[in-house]
């Protein structure tokens, strides 16, 4: 009997977590693609915030170029934050989250797949459109690699940390504002190193150090955030 059980467990381990990761990733991407309005929301928000700077501050190219690294990063950060609330909301409302928490599979895997799906449609999409939008702010061409690389490494951390806030507030009726208050302070290190990387790229300084620091933050987030997200989800559902 004991033999039988361990064999069964071993078989499950083989088809288990990897398959679940892919299944969840596919499911979440599919869900987002079928809800097209939410798909383009972060991108349009990003574009509109950037449009406000020439209108509101000054249309002068030299001044905008100076402003560009910070403005682009702040706008990307806010766009990510905007889409964060929806990450677990629908799963909570329709009961999928309960089923997810009752799965014998590790919660870490599902959570990581969900955050990856979220990042691919927010952070990754923002990274890809950022150069086009950066031109609007007269960001010099030398700054583009720095902008794209820093966003590529930095935005996954934003998604991971934001997901902790989303998991903590999913049980509340209006969690959106609370997420911002919880999560924005934690975004500050990513913002600092991200903008520094772009500025370094613009002035021709090496940006390896900043990217390494962003990478370290991402590694830390990848290892620890899914555990925090899982625990937060259990608390939210238990409440």
């Amino acid at each position: 009997m004991a033999d039988l059980l361990t064999n069964a467990a071993a078989e499950q381990a083989q088809i288990g977590p990897g398959g679940l990761f892919m299944a969840t990733l596919r499911r979440d991407l599919l869900l987002s693609l079928r809800r097209k309005s939410e798909l383009v929301n972060p991108l349009i928000f990003f574009l509109m915030v950037i449009t406000l700077f020439p209108l509101g501050v000054s249309p002068e190219p030299g001044f905008l170029a100076q402003l560009a690294p910070g403005a682009l990063w702040v706008a990307a950060l806010l766009a990510t934050l905007l889409s964060m609330d929806a990450l677990f909301r629908t799963d909570y409302d329709d009961g999928s989250l309960e089923q997810l928490l009752l799965s014998p599979q590790p919660l870490f895997i599902v959570v990581l797949a969900k955050v990856l799906a979220h990042w691919m449609l927010s952070g990754l999409a923002l990274t890809l459109v950022a150069p086009v939008i950066a031109v609007m702010l007269f960001l010099p061409a030398e700054g583009m690699p720095g902008l794209m690389l820093s966003l590529l490494i930095g935005t996954p951390t934003l998604s991971l940390v934001g997901a902790i806030g989303a998991a903590l507030t999913v049980g509340l009726k209006r969690g959106g504002v609370l997420i911002s208050l919880l999560v924005l302070p934690l975004y500050i290190p990513v913002l600092i190193f991200g903008t520094s990387a772009v500025q370094a790229a613009v002035t021709g300084l090496p940006l390896g150090g900043y990217l390494a620091l962003l990478g370290a933050l991402l590694a830390l987030g990848l290892a620890l955030a899914p555990l925090a997200i899982g625990a937060a989800l259990r608390i939210s559902v238990s409440g």
Partner: protein
């Protein structure tokens, strides 16, 4: 197998300063149906959520096959099928996509039986229709199809017959009967009387707490 499958001792739960139950104790044996009864708001759903491990908002002991449930959490989850108040069906996905994801969550389930299970609940021909264009009853049937897929010994069902038509209810009762005959157990809440099932034991929450 000796001893009860699930044993509950001295369970206490309060919600918003109102005691739902206090000193509640019962056990569920293999091949037994336990029906939780009580008025609306008496804590039926809360009790089922506690038993399934979703809610930690309680005091008291719960044992699964003689072991404290906290220590055998993974094994318990593998042997549990929970049908909640919300059916856990994504409106934007088709019935088949919904069930396939459920199979990924529970690796013991055989994903190749999904279409068979959908046929059993009368959703043949609706496999590729997004669930938001199904009726309320069909929506719940998607979730009930999990009962046909599952080999889990313990079923916890919260109002499984809501919005299901008469023939559907009869089919589900027959299914529960087969599950019992296989040596499984069912804990459920329903406002309907179960017909044709002999071994139904009722636990009434109205007499618990009440303050």
């Amino acid at each position: 197998m000796s001893g009860p499958m699930l044993q509950v001792e001295n369970l206490f739960c309060e919600r918003d300063d109102r005691v739902l139950f206090d000193g509640l104790g019962f056990s569920v044996d293999a091949g037994e149906i336990v029906q939780i009864e009580g008025a609306n708001g008496s804590g039926k759903t809360t009790l089922l959520r506690i038993l399934s491990g979703l809610s930690r908002n309680y005091e008291g002991e719960i044992y699964w096959r003689g072991e404290p449930i906290e220590r055998v959490r993974d094994q318990f989850r593998r042997e549990l099928l929970y049908f909640g108040h919300q059916p856990g069906v994504k409106a934007l996905l088709t019935p088949e996509e919904n069930l396939r994801w459920y199979c990924a969550l529970h690796p013991a389930l055989d994903a190749s039986r999904v279409s068979e299970a959908l046929e059993q609940v009368g959703l043949r021909g609706f496999e590729d229709v997004p669930c938001h264009s199904l009726s309320a009853g069909q929506h719940r049937r998607v979730s009930l199809a999990r009962l046909y897929l599952s080999d889990a010994p313990l079923w916890i069902l919260d109002e499984p017959f809501t919005a299901i038509d008469k023939r559907g209810v009869a089919a589900k009762e027959a299914l529960i009967g087969r599950h019992i005959a296989r040596g499984g157990s069912v804990i459920l809440t329903t406002h309907q009387d179960l017909q044709g099932s002999s071994a139904v034991r009722a636990i009434n929450l109205d007499r618990q707490g009440g303050t």
